[in-house]
Amino acid sequence: MCVAGNLIYVYDGSFEGMLCCIFEAFVRKERPVQVCAQSALQPSLFEVLPIETQPAKALRVLHGLEEKVSPLAAATVRDLFLSGQQDKALLALDFTRLAFERGTVVTTMLGNEVVAAAAGAVRKLYNEAHMYKGLIRFSDVGQGMVAEIEPKNFVLPLIAPHFCSRFRNETFLIYDKTNHAALIWQQHTAKLVPVDALTLPPPTGEEQVVRRLWKRFYDTIAIEARRNPVCQRTHMPKRYWACLTEMQADLDTLSEAEQTPPLLAPGVGAEPYSALQPQPV
């Protein structure tokens, strides 16, 4: 392998696109300095090599990992794609290369720099996904339940099974502001769709009543003699607070906006997240 010290691979931001970069790097026997989604590309002195997304190539990488290495290695690469870490795609490339070199043991080689970095990124992803299982707050907007999140990682595909099973007979939507995507659960079917913006209607009277009850419960349950804001923030960092009903000083301002149907502004260049669609529960 020769190191291509001056090349940046650019892909369309999809999972398949990222896999195609890995494919390309194997074919060209090189390691780019960066592998970067189109939308995150910064002007630089490096040469840019756009990589075309071809599902067949992507599948070859994924199946190769699954069959020649292990399902766990393939899952790690998928998880890296969901990671919010800047260098995730390059890390996925390095990991894949190592995986083909070393085989099944790769996922136990935690002392290796690449594996440790990958495991660290994946751990952060799963930790955040677990946090959001608790911290998502739905509002009843009449046609269904709606929630907004602002995660660092792309957690929606990971939390989808949990929410679709728990709220199986509801209609709900979770909008991810960071990744401009939404998980929609309707008539027992889940869909992950690109979305540019979401406008919530003002809360109904009943919604306001329940929010007030919840806030009251939250404020009352704390024991004054044990007050410990540091501990509170360690467990629940401030970046989550914006979307938490109970952390709003004035409840009535939460998500209050002019009524502007439609609820969702569809994303541009919508790719359907084919490989990431939630499985039926």
Partner: protein, 436 residues
Amino acid sequence: MDVLEKLTILTDAAKYDVACTSSGAGDSSPTGAGLGSTADCGICHTWSADGRCVSLLKVLMTNVCVFDCQYCVNRHSNETPRAAFTPTELADLTMSFYRRNYIEGLFLSSGVQRSPDYATEQIIKTLELLRGPYHFTGYIHAKAIPGTDPLLIARLGVLANRLSVNIELPSQRSLALLAPNKSKANILGPMATIRDGITESKESLVKYKTAEKFASAGQSTQMIVGATPESDYQILRLTEGLYHKYQLKRVFFSAYIPVAENALLPALDTKPPLLREHRLYQADWLLRYYDFEASEILDEEHQEFNPFLDPKCNWAVNHLEQFPVEVNRVPYEILLRVPGIGPVSAKRIARARRAGKLDWDDLKRIGVVLKRAQYFLLCKGKMRPGLSITPQNTVRALIDGAPLAKAEQLTLFGASSAPSQAELLEVASECVSRAI
């Protein structure tokens, strides 16, 4: 009285109950009608201003109580606003919180309105609504009230994922003194009923899949620490006994917060013994996950926890002759006894060393925190380069500064001169070094 007002009173009355976890019920992905599921690892939905995880809607059915437990805000003789939910009000509230993902489920306890049986019947009515017409398949933790008819407890166990009976105080003597309506017998009675119900249902579930589940997330209890004179050792022994005899999932401790002027209880301006509570949880952790026995942690001669060291470090400095151990060879159980290494790190080490011998840099990359562990380990036969291992250095690294600084500064130095962290560390390490 409207629901908001009831909720305020009945949350306030329930807030001293500590168990708010939703773990251990197994992962369920129910299908069909209804709302809700359980997650085995438990999910926190928020953290309150006291830093505690909020997972369940924790309220009382009513705070009306005919008992007069001296340590409790709801005791009969206390003048406080009283309220009671109707089963429908509480079931509706639970559903509307659950749908919005505010909570993982319901934690329902009650004051003894009229009699233990009557109070339990109200709880049962609420749970029957939730499990019946509302098709609620989420988590429910219900309290069993001492002195309740075993038949009612059996019904409760079918409706709830977890049951608990509070042991309240760590000795029969204290109980007799402060909770005249309760006794060891009427607390341990229901505990045994629940244990047997759980065992029986587990056995039948092996035989037929459709057998009825009984408190599938197990049984827990809690006791108040610092209201009465029992030592840490006594409490820990009792805890260990409860785990063995009643197969409890958890024992919870709650630092006593004075609620009444009473000659039998600590004065009203007494601070809750948070450090002690913290140490008890650490020791409890050692019993449950580290294969320690209570007698290894404390004994007749050392009845109280070391304020400066957590129980595991305290054990290690008293057994320095067993260290250092070789990371690449030492059995998992011994690895767990190394200060700074918990089950997560120990598992990672066990997994990583299968792929090849580990050195110090490998350990760091795996994510093992070496600040404490380095004094107790060898990698490929070598000590950590540049590290000087003396008993003094070792102890210094083990001192648990944070809870110490917070909880002990007043008693150690007088309220006026709050010491710096460094000074505290100095005093503490001297103290501990002298002791060993």
